[in-house]
Symmetry: C2
Subunit: 329 residues, 2 copies
């Protein structure tokens, strides 16, 4: 097995992604990150571990792209335009140049697609699983970006895209899809694809900056993440579950199957935007989202008393969820 040295793999695979002058082509020990006048940096960090955040046999290019996209989703939720990132990579025994070439290909593809420039990082070996740490930098015009704790009674609750595809896609990908007999091969491919390659709602950032009172991305499950946003804001909400947007594939999967519906709402890996919008801004927000070609759906309204959200089932009954969201511990 041929194996590149650390310097070789940096110059071959990673240096081409370092398009900012301050990155010095990754030939130095650190980069200079100059922030344009009148702009502020938004910083977020996500770590992904094989066997926890993705499967060890997921394609290397998709793993790379997912590691960027989960960070891009956080930037989008805070109204930021993608700018640059650092990548620290712990490679397990048995990595090959071919694996890394495919990883770098995926990384390059999304770095280009999202104008997201590699600034630096580290490559080390690990006796454990592949581990990827990304710190992401976005740019915003002002320091008062949308908060998690800004929801106020009377605000409308919106989500982008569709909820539950990622969680159902993971079950499909791992053969634990009790709902498989209700799906065709296209449905299964769609759901698996949504798990493997989330779609960060980068284009929604300006609409969030302009109109949202509170924002976060939905990564650990709609129900649990909504509860976090409301708790931070000291409010509650009434959510009409019949309005929660589901893809056609997810609708077929959850049809008449309450447990499956619960998985969709609590399972995580959505990487959609959850936000609240004051009534005065709703029309403009919906218009801006439409102009950005991102579906947003009004799913409920913020209510005054602090407490867990009230979920109204499609039949009109209150619903509780045993498990709010994905938790590591």
């Amino acid at each position: 097995m041929t194996r590149l040295t650390e310097d070789q793999l940096i110059s071959r695979f990673f240096a081409p992604l370092a398009t900012l002058a301050g990155a010095r082509g990754l030939t130095d020990d650190a980069a200079v990150l100059s922030v344009p006048a009148g702009r502020h940096l938004v910083v977020t960090a996500d770590m992904l571990v094989a066997g926890v955040h993705f499967l060890a046999d997921d394609a290397a290019d998709l793993v790379a792209r997912k590691s960027l996209r989960v960070n891009l989703s956080d930037l989008a939720a805070k109204g930021a335009r993608p700018h640059a990132f650092t990548l620290s990579l712990a490679l397990p025994a048995g990595w090959t140049d071919e694996w890394l070439a495919l990883f770098a290909e995926g990384l390059a593809r999304d770095a280009a697609a999202f104008s997201f420039s590699l600034l630096g990082g580290d490559t080390v070996r690990t006796p454990g699983p592949l581990t990827i740490a990304v710190t992401a930098f976005g740019l915003v015009p002002a320091a008062d970006i949308p908060r998690r704790d800004g929801a106020r009674a009377g605000d409308a609750v919106y989500v982008s895209g569709t909820i539950g595809d990622g969680a159902l896609g993971l079950l499909t990908r791992t053969g634990r899809d009790a709902f498989a007999d209700r799906l065709g091969p296209e449905d299964r491919a769609f759901l698996t694809g949504r798990y493997l390659l989330p779609e960060p709602r980068v284009a929604l950032a300006p609409a969030l900056l302009a109109h949202a009172s509170a924002t976060m991305d939905v990564s650990d499950g709609f129900v649990g993440d909504l509860a976090k946003l409301l708790r931070a804001s000291g409010v509650s909400a009434t959510i009409d579950l019949s309005q929660v947007p589901l893809s056609a594939a997810a609708r077929r999967a959850v049809a008449g199957d309450a447990a499956c519906f619960e998985t969709a709402l609590t399972g995580g890996d959505d990487y959609e935007i959850l936000c609240t919008v004051p009534p005065s801004g709703e029309e403009a927000f919906v218009g801006a989202a439409k102009a950005a070609r991102i579906d947003v759906t009004r799913v409920g309204v913020v209510t005054e008393e602090a407490g867990p959200p009230r979920f109204i089932a499609p039949g009109g009954a209150d619903t509780r969820f045993a498990r709010g969201s994905f938790s590591h511990f």
Copy 2:
């Protein structure tokens, strides 16, 4: 075993370290990093894996401090003042609140000592070893910070502190110290301490900014890192090995033991500064280092022809090293 949730461990252990307003007390999904007018950010990232960069049974507070210090060393080498960092932490099965409390205590101690503010991060579980990814931000007054590739023929080669203690300390720490019979218990404690807790030369940063033509930190071994700096600069150097600064403990360890001397020069974990200084700036550089109370030692001179450095042994003979530096792969 009690076990805190992710939110609890963030609020209890990490939020107190988030002293910048833009970090929002780690209650949001991202932080805002405002860069003071006239300042530029220097960004570096290092990843540490248990069993690779530290021993799994090293004390948690020292592991935390080392994870900051290896990054602070990179910032110092580039002339930057510490500002903020993100911390992504993959915790293995079996971590305890007590372990994490000690880790956070170490982190808090060095964050305070170096005015280094926690900006955000991620905490996940791993089936593998403890893995720590830090992305560090420093501030510099101008974007043209010292480079790795700026050494020119005639420049003097300097190193800070002493070389080899970390490599010898690792051998001592792991009972592979064939030189043990030449050392007393204080020597062993000193060398082990240098391995466990490197001293980043933060105070040397202004002197480097003002006077150095090329800089890097010595983390993978003096011999190999010097070769990297010279290769990047397209030059060579003649190094007088009798001038390479050794601590008293290291001097006793290497006495009459060529293999041990080679380990000291090539073994890594020094976290000292290696730099070149044009003759016109030497006096001012040495003066500035002295004012900063950091020892710097002139070990050689840069020469014109590109190529590996020439090492002159204490007896006057040319010396070659089989293994230049630590390499992951």
